[in-house]
Amino acid sequence: MPRRLFRLFFALLLALALGATACGNDDDGPAAQVIEESAPKATSTQAAQSPTQEAAPEPTPTEAPSAPAPTEVPPPTEEAAPEPDPTEAPPERPQRIVSLSPTATEILFAIGAGDQVAAVDQFSYFPPEAPVTDLSGWDPNVEAVLSYEPDLVVIANDANDLVAGMDAVGVKVLVSGAPADFEGGYDSIAELGIAVGRVDEAAALVADLRVEIEDALAAAPDVPIRVYHELDNTFFSVSSNSFIGAVYTAMGAINIADEADADGYGYPQLTEEYIVEADPELIVITDLVGYTAEDVAARPGWGEVAAVRNGNIVVVNSDIASRWGPRLPQFIAAVAEALQTVAVSAP
């Protein structure tokens, strides 16, 4: 009986939510409002950021700005409007969020939803105040997740049929996967903001990130420098089809992994002799690997590689360089600085 009751209740909730969304769409809702307010400033930022252009023709700055929202927000209108799914526009803020995605955890805390987070997975160790548990985002266990009595579960991908398991007990799940580019990243922040009822904060974060990322990108020299981003010593790399690899091309650099990523997966494994032949001028490794820049330079056969000859091997923080999150500008700034060094040292 309670189960049937519960279902009824859930159906009612769903209907309510649907109704709310429908209304929201009618009058462009609060979510769209905040993001669109900033339309006037759009044109200035879009020149530098071609990916945003598809979003450009849509701004409808009909709403009067009601809150002192950030003024520099360009209008990624598509992220707010076409999401009429009930789960993304709940009438109230979920209070017991379980995040199984380190990226989502960083975003949740950055948009002020930290207090609403009940538990995060074992790798969500940033920011330090995140309530880390032994939950696994890779191999999640439905019962373990449920033991935190969540009212919203955020995951990066639906492992172990978690969505179906949560559906069965009526817990909402937001699948927030790794974005393929900057716009996808902004979209997922907006999506999270809507889902946890922190729309204003999400919009502000997106606005800040846009500015920061744009500044960082602008700091890069406009020289086609060949870059090799190494994930591990079996030569897995990132192509421009991943958002990390896209950072390099956005700066006008040449990502040598692009040629190896015919199927557009984003994370190709390169052959060593190709890397040496491609002669990267900058090699980027992460601090997660068990070797150092010196080890890379000392690899047999790599002595003639430009990056090795000129000592241009940089180590980046692997968390920042693998998560789409509030700290991404740090990675871009580090890369821009490294590219600047290469551009100066190059003959």
């Binding site: 890779w138 591990d232 190896a260 015919a262 002799e273 040496v276 690899r299 047999p300 693998s322």
Partner: protein, 365 residues
Amino acid sequence: MAEASLPTAALSEDETAYTAVRRAFGMSAMASVLGVVVLVGVGLLSASSGAAGLPVSGVFGALFDWIPVVGIESSLSATQENILFEIRLPRLVLGMLVGGSLGVAGASYQGVFRNPLADPYLLGVSAGAGFGAVLALGFGLDLSWGPFDTVPAAAFMGALVAVVASMAIARGGGTSPATLLLGGVAMAALFSAAQTYAIQQLNETRAREVLSWLFGQLNTTGWKQVWLLLPYAAVCGAVLFVHRRHLDVLRVGDDEARSLGLDPARSRLIVIVAASLLTAAAVSVSGLIAFVGLVVPHIVRLLISHSYRVIVPLSALVGAAFLAFVDIGARTLLAPSELPVGVITAFVGAPFFALVLWRDRWSTT
């Protein structure tokens, strides 16, 4: 070694399969020559193909220049010479060594267990090595010693622990091959479970490293891996080569072997230890390359001879040529990206094996 091979020299006169062996010998001499020719051919083909499109003439020039007495002006640039001598050739030689080692070890296991399904990973070597590698890659277990890096050292130790445990379970392996085999199954299951559990605790980058190790890969750090494997390949290969006739005798059964003056338990122990050591060394530098150790001995058996006198050495040649050949595909098929060699070994090997099987009727070992 000499005393161990003494009884066999006497007993080959009495061996039931004497004529077959005799007949096989002529064929095997031819097959050996053919095997060496194929191996050299594969080597040259492999040396001249790769993701970095080195000019073939330049490669051959540089290779001949390598021979001390010949002085040919190499047309390769410094980078190209680096690619050839520090990346491509070490990988090619490592592929041959690993392929040959797995071939010989597989043949020895099949002989000692009198089981056509035996392969070098039978006694838990793969699971033990995998567990060791996971601990080293993911949890910072550092057993590095001398020339052994952390991963090869841990994989090697893991493999040895698994084999020794299997043999301990079966009380030294002398009693019955079936007990030892079951001990191996138990150890493999145990270490696989431990390995799976450990992988599950890893983060993304580490897990990917572990998985690409488990798939088997021939990435080299210059000639380092070659020098690591070479002593094991030489010593264990020689031991197995010397004891290959014992395998023929063991085939007819322990009692017959004993009546022919052979101590079956002792022979078995020597062969198993040598083959396990060889497999552990190969696995520690290349990860788990499937299929070679299982199928190469069968291909030799079906095409050339049923005598281990022939199967053991030819498995080395065929295994070496096969893995080197398949690795050309791993390096070039998706160039400039890489394909795990362990995937292609089965992909190329299985149809070929099926063809050989289909051509020749199956006969038990």
